[in-house]
């Protein structure tokens, strides 16, 4: 088997800043936008970029993620040659193969990558919201004859000190990397997207493993080592919507941004679809009492109340007299009658009973966890 580019999606992180939303499931599996999960963006980008060989590295609470990704069929990735493969920790005669960092996760899966024998390995993160044609980045990588190409995005200068910043020369060659610099010399933030020449990266990882085994993280260990050895590294600049939904507020904001059909992410673009596993549910039913504006609603919903500037994911029920405003409601949530939900994220399968209220603020989003119940009839049923 010979593959030009193998994508490795790192989906093992917990995403602990999302609090109870990532207690039971990994961050890439967190529902998003009404019918997606966060990882859909990376996987759809792969499919749309023609990269059909994808390893998905999981570790933390992978069940929802594994069920969701399956054999990659939802993204057209269930191909004989290639396809999607879930990679999870395992035991060997050398002991337990746990993944201790981004680069270490790649090292532990060397056997898998070798089976594909790729020229390039595209490293992706499973928890960003964006649409990007990776094939263009790979073309750039080939043109510059780079050993490593790092995807970067210009961030506002005053925020640059929160990111890993790539300092480049006039040819876009990376000459310095600074993690959260106090005084940034550039505003090009690393997106955590890398194109590596596999043979070279493999050598680094194997050599290091034979020595001090310190090469655990791409940003912290691999890029500095590449810089020390004057490997040819280029920055590939991405321009477009890109969001790391690492906090509850950014998750909420990204969802709210998605509602507007004119938003630049353009989720409705049929030429660059975001694919997902499609649940099989009846159509959405807005009763005679429904009052829905500025919102998106997904199949399987039943709405008898008021919904304003919100996202209802599939199979959500909103009872009579209830008001849902500025909120992101995950799948299978039941909202009773005369409930108020404002500035909130409601987790999958949660139940909000009659008359209850969940009211957050724009800078302090209220959250109800998965399967949590709130309001009157908690002990019944």
């Amino acid at each position: 088997m010979k593959t030009e580019t193998l994508a490795m999606v790192l989906a093992g992180g917990q995403g602990s800043r999302l609090g109870k939303l990532t207690k039971q499931i990994a961050k890439p599996a967190v529902p998003f936008g009404g019918k997606y999960r966060i990882i859909d963006f990376a996987l759809s980008n792969c499919a749309n970029s023609g990269i059909m060989n994808v390893g998905v590295v999981t570790q933390y609470q992978p069940q929802a993620l594994n069920d969701h990704v399956g054999d990659g069929k939802s993204w057209g990735l269930n191909r004989h040659k290639g396809g999607a493969t879930i990679l999870q920790p395992y035991a060997s005669v050398d002991g337990e193969k746990w993944f201790k960092g981004t680069a270490h996760a790649i090292y532990q899966n060397i056997d898998f990558i070798d089976r594909h024998n790729p020229d390039y390995v595209l490293i992706l993160s499973g928890d960003h919201i964006y649409k990007m044609d990776y094939s263009k980045m790979i073309d750039f990588h080939k043109e510059t004859a780079a050993s490593l190409t790092v995807g970067v995005i210009p961030v506002p200068w005053d925020e640059a000190s929160r990111f890993g910043i790539m300092n480049t020369d006039l040819t876009n060659r990376i000459i310095e990397f600074e993690e959260k610099p106090k005084e940034p010399k550039s505003n090009l933030a690393s997106m955590g997207i890398y194109v590596f020449n596999w043979a070279r990266l493999r050598q680094y990882l194997v050599d290091n493993q034979a020595k001090d085994r310190t090469m655990l993280d791409f940003g912290h260990d691999v890029i500095p080592a590449y810089l020390r050895n004057s490997e040819k590294m280029f920055a590939y600049s991405f321009e477009g919507y890109w969001k790391d939904v690492g906090t509850l507020e950014s998750l909420w904001t990204a969802n709210m941004e998605l509602i507007d059909p004119t938003h630049e992410l353009n989720i409705r673009d049929r030429d660059w679809r975001i694919y997902s596993r499609n649940p099989d549910t009846p159509p959405q039913f807005l009763t005679k009492d429904a009052d829905v504006v500025n919102s998106t609603i997904t199949d399987g919903c039943y709405v008898a109340g008021e919904v304003d500037h919100s996202i209802l994911s599939y199979n959500v029920r909103v009872g009579k007299g209830s008001v849902v405003k500025d909120s992101f409601i995950m799948p299978n949530v039941t909202i009773g009658s005369n409930v108020r939900v404002e500035h909130a994220i409601i987790g999958e399968d949660a139940k909000i009973y009659d008359g209850a209220e969940i009211i957050g603020k724009e800078d302090e989003i209220a959250v109800l966890g998965y399967e949590e119940e709130i309001g009157g009839r908690k002990d019944e049923d």
């Binding site: 099989d280 009846p282 959405q284 807005l286 829905v292 504006v293 998106t296």
Partner: protein
Amino acid sequence: MRTKLAAILNLTEDAERLQPLTEQRPVASLPFGCRYRLIDFPFSSLYNAEVISAALFISGSGHSLYDHIRSGSTWGLDSPIGGGVFTHSHIEWKWEIAKRENIDVTYYDNHRGYVERANTDHVLITGSGILCNVNLDSVIQYHETKGNPITALFKNVTRASLPEETNVLRYVVNSGQAENVTKVESMNEVPMDAPKVAAGMDMVLMDTEFFLEYLDYADENMKEVSAATAVAYALKQDVLISAYEYTGYMKSIEDIQTYYEANMDMLDENNFNSLFYRNEPVVTRTRHGAPTYYGATSNVTNSQLASDCEVYGNVKNSLIFRKSKIAEGATVSDSVLMQGAEIGKDVVLKHVIFDKKVRVEDGVHLEGTPDNPIVIKKNTVITKENVKENVQ
């Protein structure tokens, strides 16, 4: 043990009275309920009973069906071990030519071959023109408990719930302990005010052995293989026919009016829940698409919508299929708009049925009546100028 029954689907329903919706599709392919096709209902019954194969006999080319069914994987009909959807198209045409030119069309061999290969205890024969959601496990259990070689499904209805001119058969069911079908009549002869009458559901379950006997008979006498002729054969042979009473939502889709009514029925929560929110889900081929967007100026009540729509106008008592757009100021009421409808600004639609991809330009008014909804063909563009000629 792996599969419970062999399923024969007769997709040869008369499509004439459903024109122009059936111009390029069989009745089985008719879109229904915002995101389904009629075939989804029998297929979902198979899916829910974990049946893994089906033989389809189709009047026309069946292209719209093939395109929907593909490998059958949606309904678990693609198992590499014993599974599959086996399609036989142009049945009517082949038959006609067979009769005219005296050719053997292998119609009966196709049935026999499928059933023998499926190697199951039971055979189901069903059509797709009667909308219902049947739990086949329950039918099989009933069939085995009763112990007769054939079980026919019926529902007690009022005569008035069916069209005056109907294809539905009336079963005479003897009551008491052993509920059997003792006679079959044309429903057309039953007075319209009859309050309770057993309507045959064009669906029978048979022991395979009995099916093969019946098939030999059908072959010798050039009879169509169908629930109706199977019941007739059983009556002729004095074989007891168990009668299984179905109590869920049922509607015989025979003409534009019944098609329209069936869609409108879904806006009644009881009907909707009875058809869709049983233990057994209705499964269809899912499509990728964004959630439906309701703009600031939208006002949607008592309506059902599929995903991937954009609504800026008013929708009331209507069913809107995928990828439709309704512009600001437009008002759609008591209507069924199939996939890809584009409704311009300030348009008024009432009592209309749109086939796929109908576009209505700004300001057009189009109103039918509850008893005579206006039907617009696929891909039609309606302008103020041509609106009249489209309402023939």
